[in-house]
C-alpha cells in the first residue's frame, strides 16, 4: 500500500511538472534582460513597462473585456428566457429538437462555426452594408455563449418547486411579478454560473473571432496571435505571467468561496 502511495505521488508530480514547466519557463524569461529565450542574462522589469505602454495590447484588452461583457449579458438574458420557455414545453419531440440545436454549437468544431458565420456576414456586408467588426463578433460570441447560459439554467428550473410560483399567484401576485420575485431568485445561481462561463469563453475565444472580425475589431487573443507569429517578443512572456497570476487568483478565490459554502452547508 505504501509503495502505491509513493508511486501516485511521483506520477502526480510528473504530471504537474509537465503542465507547469513550460508556463514557468515563460514567466522566468519575462524578467530576462535580453531577448534570448534560452539564456538568462540579467533581471529586468522593462518588458512589463513596455507591455503597459503598448497601446495595441491595451486597446485590445479593452475590446476583449467589453465584448465579453456585452455578449455574456445578452446571452444571459436571451438564454434565461429561452430556458424558461423550453422548461414549459411538454412535447418530447419538440424539446429534443430544440436541445439538439442547442448542443450544435457546442459539438461543432470551432473552425466550422467560424467559417459558417463568416459566410453569412459576407452576405450581410453585401446586402445590408454591415461591415465585419464589433457587431458581427458580438453576434458570433452570443451564439456560442447561449448554449452555456441555457444549460446552466435548465437544471435549476427542474430543481425548483413549481408550487412556489403558483402560491405567489394564489396570493394575488401578477404572473410577471411572480416570475421576477420567485422564479428568478431561485435560478440565480444557474444564471450566474452561465454568465461566468460565457464571460471566460468570450474573453478566451480566438478561432471564431478570427473568422468573424475582419479588420474592424481586435481582441486580446488576436493581438497575441499576431505577436506570436513575429516570434521573439518578451512582452508576450510578461503578458503570460500577468494572465497566469490573474487566473490563479480567480481560481483561489472561487475555491475559497466554494469551500466556505460547503462548510456552511
Amino acid at each position: 500500500m505504501k509503495k502505491k502511495n509513493v508511486l501516485s505521488k511521483v506520477y502526480t508530480g510528473l504530471m504537474l511538472l509537465f503542465l507547469f514547466a513550460p508556463i514557468f519557463v515563460l514567466i522566468v524569461f519575462s524578467f530576462n534582460e535580453s531577448k534570448s529565450r534560452a539564456l538568462f542574462t540579467g533581471f529586468t522589469f522593462k518588458w512589463y513597462v513596455e507591455l503597459f505602454q503598448n497601446e495595441m495590447i491595451m486597446s485590445a484588452l479593452w475590446g476583449s473585456l467589453s465584448m465579453a461583457f456585452c455578449s455574456s449579458t445578452i446571452a444571459a438574458i436571451v438564454g434565461t428566457a429561452a430556458a424558461v420557455g423550453i422548461h414549459k414545453i411538454q412535447r418530447k419531440g419538440i424539446r429534443t429538437a430544440i436541445m439538439n440545436i442547442t448542443y450544435l454549437p457546442v459539438l461543432n468544431p470551432e473552425i466550422v462555426t467560424g467559417i459558417s458565420m463568416m459566410l453569412l456576414f459576407v452576405i450581410f456586408k453585401n446586402l445590408l452594408g454591415i461591415k465585419l467588426g464589433f457587431i458581427t463578433v458580438l453576434i458570433a460570441h452570443v451564439t456560442f455563449c447561449l448554449p452555456y447560459a441555457i444549460l446552466n439554467v435548465l437544471p435549476k428550473l427542474r430543481q425548483m418547486d413549481p408550487s412556489l410560483y403558483e402560491a405567489a399567484q394564489d396570493l394575488g401576485c401578477p404572473p410577471v411579478r411572480a416570475f421576477f420575485k420567485v422564479v428568478i431568485p431561485e435560478i440565480m445561481p444557474g444564471i450566474i454560473s452561465g454568465y461566468l462561463m460565457s464571460f471566460t469563453f468570450s474573453l478566451d475565444d480566438f478561432i471564431i473571432t478570427y473568422f468573424t472580425s475582419g479588420s474592424g475589431f481586435t481582441s486580446l487573443p488576436l493581438v497575441i496571435y499576431s505577436m506570436v507569429r513575429k516570434k521573439v517578443n518578451p512582452q508576450i512572456n510578461a503578458l503570460s505571467a500577468i494572465i497566469f497570476v490573474v487566473v490563479l487568483l480567480m481560481l483561489l478565490i472561487s475555491n475559497l468561496v466554494q469551500a466556505r459554502k460547503e462548510k456552511a452547508d
Binding site: A83, G85, E110, Y225, L239, I243
Partner: protein, 281 residues
C-alpha cells in the same frame, strides 16, 4: 374558468424561448445551410456541382494526416490521463479540490500562449536543445515536426481528458474496489473488470473533447509544425483567408470534417450507451 386563467401564464411562458429560437435559426442553422450551399455550387455561379469535392480529393493525404496525428494525441491523452484521473479520485477532499484547480489553471490561459511556450522550448536554439548541448548531445530538430504537433495537442487538451475521467471515477465507491479484491481479483483485473467499465462515460467525453479540437486545429500545426505540416484546419483557413478566396472548396472541406466528426462521435456514443445498458442489466 379559474382553471383557464391559471394555465394562461404557462402558455405565455413558452413564448419566451422564441427570441432564442429565431437567433439560433438565423445564426446557426442558416450559416450551416450556407456551408452546404457553397459546397455544392460553383462559386461565384450558383450552378450545382460536385467539383468542389473533387477539389478536396487532392488533399486526401492531409485529411489522413490530421486524423492520424489527432488519434495519436487522443490515445496518448487517454493513457496518460487515465491514471491521473484515478489517482485524483482517491485523494482527500481537499487534495481533490487543489488538484482540480491545478489541472484547470493552464486550461484558463489562452491556448495561444500555451502553444507559444512550447515553441520557445522546442526551437533549435531553444532551452531544451541548449540544455542537452551542455552534455554534448544534439541539437535535435524538434520544432516543425509531426511529433511537435502531437505534443502540442497533448499539452493543450490533456486537462479535457483528465477532468471528465476524474469526475466519473470519483463516483466509484472504494468499497466496490475492495469487494473485487476480496473476491480474489488482482490489480489488473480490478482495472479491467471494475474501474474501466464504470469509467466509460468519462472516457467517451474525454475522447470527444480531445479529438474534436485536435483534428480541426490550425494554430498548433502552424506554430509547432512549420509550413510543411498542414492539417485540415490549415487548408480550410487558407480557402477563406488565404490569398485565393475559394469558399466552394473550403465549404466542401468543412462539410466533410463536420460529417466525419459527427459519424465518429455517433459511433463512440453508441458504444457508451451500449455499455450503460449492459451495466444496468
Amino acid at each position: 374558468m379559474a382553471e383557464q386563467t391559471r394555465h394562461r401564464p404557462f402558455d405565455m411562458a413558452k413564448l419566451t424561448s422564441v427570441p432564442y429560437l429565431v437567433w439560433m435559426l438565423l445564426f446557426t442553422i442558416v450559416p450551416l445551410g450556407m456551408v452546404v450551399w457553397y459546397a455544392f455550387t460553383a462559386y461565384p455561379n450558383t450552378d450545382f456541382t460536385l467539383q468542389n469535392f473533387a477539389g478536396v480529393l487532392k488533399y486526401g493525404k492531409t485529411f489522413w494526416k490530421s486524423i492520424y496525428l489527432s488519434l495519436i494525441a487522443t490515445v496518448v491523452c487517454l493513457i496518460v490521463g487515465f491514471p491521473m484521473g484515478f489517482i485524483m479520485s482517491r485523494m482527500s477532499e481537499r487534495g481533490q479540490r487543489t488538484m482540480q484547480m491545478l489541472i484547470m489553471l493552464p486550461m484558463w490561459m489562452s491556448f495561444l500562449l500555451r502553444t507559444y511556450a512550447w515553441m520557445t522550448l522546442l526551437e533549435n536554439e531553444g532551452l531544451i536543445n541548449k540544455f542537452l548541448g551542455l552534455f554534448g548531445i544534439g541539437p535535435f530538430q524538434m520544432i516543425n515536426t509531426q511529433g511537435a504537433i502531437v505534443l502540442g495537442m497533448v499539452y493543450n487538451y490533456l486537462p479535457y481528458m483528465i477532468l471528465p475521467l476524474y469526475s466519473v471515477m470519483v463516483k466509484i465507491d472504494q468499497s466496490v474496489i475492495e469487494a473485487a479484491q476480496d473476491l480474489g481479483a488482482d490489480g489488473f483485473h480490478v482495472l479491467i473488470r471494475v474501474i474501466l467499465p464504470l469509467a466509460v462515460p468519462g472516457i467517451v467525453t474525454g475522447i470527444t473533447m480531445v479529438f474534436v479540437p485536435s483534428v480541426s486545429t490550425f494554430i498548433i500545426s502552424r506554430m509547432l509544425g512549420g509550413g510543411s505540416n498542414l492539417l485540415i484546419g490549415d487548408l480550410i483557413e487558407q480557402q477563406f483567408l488565404g490569398s485565393v478566396y475559394n469558399p466552394g472548396v473550403g465549404s466542401a472541406m468543412s462539410l466533410i470534417l463536420m460529417v466525419m466528426i459527427l459519424l465518429i462521435m455517433g459511433v463512440i456514443n453508441r458504444f457508451d450507451s451500449d455499455e450503460m445498458e449492459g451495466m444496468l442489466v
